[in-house]
Point group: C2
Chain length 246, copies 2
Amino acid sequence: MRLTTVRAIAVSNIPIVSNGDNLAEMILENIQLEDGDIVVITSKIVSKSEGRLVKSSSVTVSAHAKEIAERNGFDPIHVELALRESVKIVREDGVLITETKSGIVCNFSGVDKSNVPNDDFVLLPIDPDQSALTILDNLTKATGLRLALIISDTQGRPWRKGSINVAIGCAGINAFKYNQGKKDLRGRVLKRSTICQIDEITALVESLMGQANESIPVTIVRGYDYSEGEEKASAINRQHENDLFR
Amino acid sequence: MRLTTVRAIAVSNIPIVSNGDNLAEMILENIQLEDGDIVVITSKIVSKSEGRLVKSSSVTVSAHAKEIAERNGFDPIHVELALRESVKIVREDGVLITETKSGIVCNFSGVDKSNVPNDDFVLLPIDPDQSALTILDNLTKATGLRLALIISDTQGRPWRKGSINVAIGCAGINAFKYNQGKKDLRGRVLKRSTICQIDEITALVESLMGQANESIPVTIVRGYDYSEGEEKASAINRQHENDLFR
């Protein structure tokens, strides 16, 4: 049965996260979860809990990073960290688009400066799917509920201006849902229709999380009829040979 | 004040749409709108109401379309219509990515075959922002409410596999919200953070609309704290000189 209402709920009162914090406990202290809930959390608090902060003063900038920074007017330390987090530079002219070690193609390897102590940069989690699995396991053990978990990050994209919130890690929910074999209104079988359900879920909750000083790093999506399974967020990343826009 | 819950509601019982139908009337017959509601409707029913169906038997395929179709194993009529709707081919090797006359870069100019009579193709609305404005005007006149309207389409994207629902037309709501000048948790002013709010809103409701034989072409997003204004969905389309991935 298709549900007819989906709700997105902001979880307020999550304290500022530090290295080693148990995110599952912090979530459960602030919201009563229900069976079938999808918990969406920002990559930033996952990174903080995993100690993925870097002090600017500790960073030695390479010649390559310095050259890219000077040519484009970027912060050399920001460039250096983006390069360290990357396996490949996709573009470096006016933008710095890289492929991260975890396979995500994005701006500056997702290295960011907002909402962290003044001198620090925050790096994306090393393995966001694994982070999601760990947090979900803790939530599941504590509640006994069937839950899903998504880790979000706000990213730009080609063709369309403006950033949107996307999923970089997931557990308990498939990255995609497939309409293959389903029939349309006229009874014709749809050849292929692969929807990235975790990106769609993640997009809307950004409005509750906010980008600036709203401290809402956790939201719950309730009533969403999702495809459950083991397909990871890393499956979203296009392989080089299939990505026509590199 | 930031609202803490957003709801997406499927509007069921919308009948199959024909050329000339008044969509605002059809919507109002099936849901009680509230002040601040965002109405999201599929491009498909807008196209149908505007007579944007083409019979395959009426289409003469050009040599160029035939060549692209043969080389890639595409339907020649589908390619022909995609070319007619386009001002530019972006890629034509394994995919057919075009820029439409209304400026959208997408697969096959958004020309589609599902959920239309057997021999027909459906084209995107000629000017989706204008379509949105017309429908919104009718809704506003009939209800006296402050409303917003978004026209959605399901599209693929570079870098990330799977399609997601995006906004191709809007009225009564800005395409973007800007976090420039806002401060982060540490009181630092964010340099730039432009969020495509209409794409974020549109993404989640796809789960209620479905891609196959669920006839839910209209959804309502309620409780979303949106930036109101005149900024059109066409503002999302990157200009050639700014789009590094063409």
